[in-house]
Subunit: 233 residues, 2 copies
DNA sequence: ATTGCTGGATTGTTGAACAATCCCTACGGT
DNA sequence: ACCGTAGGGATTGTTCAACAATCCAGCAAT
């Protein structure tokens, strides 16, 4: 029987925390850089990413590049075609349907049954709404799109679950690829500003049930609009 | 204006399918092998996985090993401590709470709003229930645990979403790590056999609302039981 | 126009190397 | 006995160079 030493245990715990906040690895930074290029639209869906070019551009070895690319493939930001290379993902109709199927399950449930305490979580939702309005006032539609994503991230954050937050981040990154495949960012995002506001107001009033219903309707409309746009593509 | 050639289009589609069914890469196979060892419990939570040992055991180079390990780290099967190595994950109390938070949102929602048509999906649930009963009759409690996981995977499959299925697979793999940290596999899984049966019967009767409520209660009880066991650890 | 071949380019995988970091131990000072 | 420190060994993080396997484009031949 080994006796537990609480002090020692606490110290090793601190050491672990230290390690977790250690500087990210090179591969992680490469992945961040490439992901940034993709979600910002500077790398278009379908674009090919030769490993050597990335080596030259980022000044790291091919192995490190490959590690980063594998990471992005599991995030669905890139797709790998064996022996051909990796490409920026091109979400197809089925991908859109599936993403919205998940969102329609998760987002209303988070609004309805979220366990986040206090008003901070709702305040984050309000902040995203304001951010969208500010973007619209400045006619910066890319900013409006970003604010919209912050809005939905804030909705999921009501569940107070790191794992769910992470999954939502992946889904939203995939959504950016969807938007990059089609024109009309303004037309798509602008109409939802008022609906965001309405949902947020319901939340602030404590009427989670009504807010959840409204979120579900929102997502259904958005999906339909995207699928129609895909058909016209 | 380009004219569409349906034959040509079908052929390129075939080419893409060919690539997707291409034999998995070495790194993928290594990841599968290690994951198998972990979920089967032959590698205990907290165990260290030195890269060189894996090289010798599996006969592949260190770079390939590292690629596989990175993959498993993103799956939360392993954790990496920079400059120290990778270890089999040891889900802590917070991990259990978070996993169940996600499951309590997703599983009832999938049961309630799932869009899987036909009886095939419900039949899969029934199959998992029968599998559990068979395992209990044979007093094979590991089989009962596996059947339980199949049951919950079948519940999520009601949503008919590949992305959700994949996420559920990751959560269930994490749950296996939780179980490996504590004794009493039988005591934990056996009581849920009758509840599985009840939920399945409700589903077969078309009463999704009642089934969803029952799933939610189920998950709440299971979480509580696990947290108590953690405290006694 | 279709088939078959060939050369070049890219990926998949390996092996070896080196710096950086960590762990452990021994040593010396107090 | 306790703390700090310095060294040594082991492991990881990263790079580089090489080779086989595969794919692609272009060309030749029918």
């Amino acid at each position: 029987m080994t006796t537990v030493d609480p002090t020692r245990e606490a110290l090793t715990s601190l050491g672990r925390a230290r390690r977790l906040m250690a500087r990210t690895s090179t591969a992680d930074r490469v992945a961040d850089a490439v992901r940034e290029e993709v979600v910002e639209g500077r790398l278009r869906p379908g674009a090919r990413l030769p490993e050597q070019d990335l080596c030259a551009a980022l000044g790291v070895s091919r192995n490190t590049i490959r590690e980063a690319l594998s990471q992005l493939v599991t995030e669905r930001v890139l797709v790998r075609e064996p022996n051909r290379g990796v490409f920026v993902a091109q979400p197809d109709r089925d991908a859109v349907r599936d993403v919205y199927r998940v969102r329609r399950l998760v987002e209303p449930a988070a609004v309805l049954h979220g366990e986040a305490f206090g008003d901070a979580a709702v305040a984050a939702v309000r902040a995203a709404v304001s951010e969208g309005v500010a973007g619209a006032d400045a006619e910066d539609w890319a900013a409006v799109a970003t604010a919209n994503q912050h809005f939905h991230r804030a909705l999921v954050a009501l569940a107070d679950s790191p794992r769910l937050d992470q999954q939502m981040a992946l889904l939203l990154a995939e959504m950016r690829l969807v938007f990059h495949r089609m024109p009309g960012v303004r037309e798509f995002h602008e109409p939802y500003l008022t609906r965001n506001d309405a949902i947020c107001t319901l939340l602030e009033a404590g009427d989670r049930a009504a807010a959840a219903v409204e979120v579900e309707r929102y997502l259904r409309d958005a999906e339909l609009q995207l699928l129609v746009a895909y058909d016209a593509l």
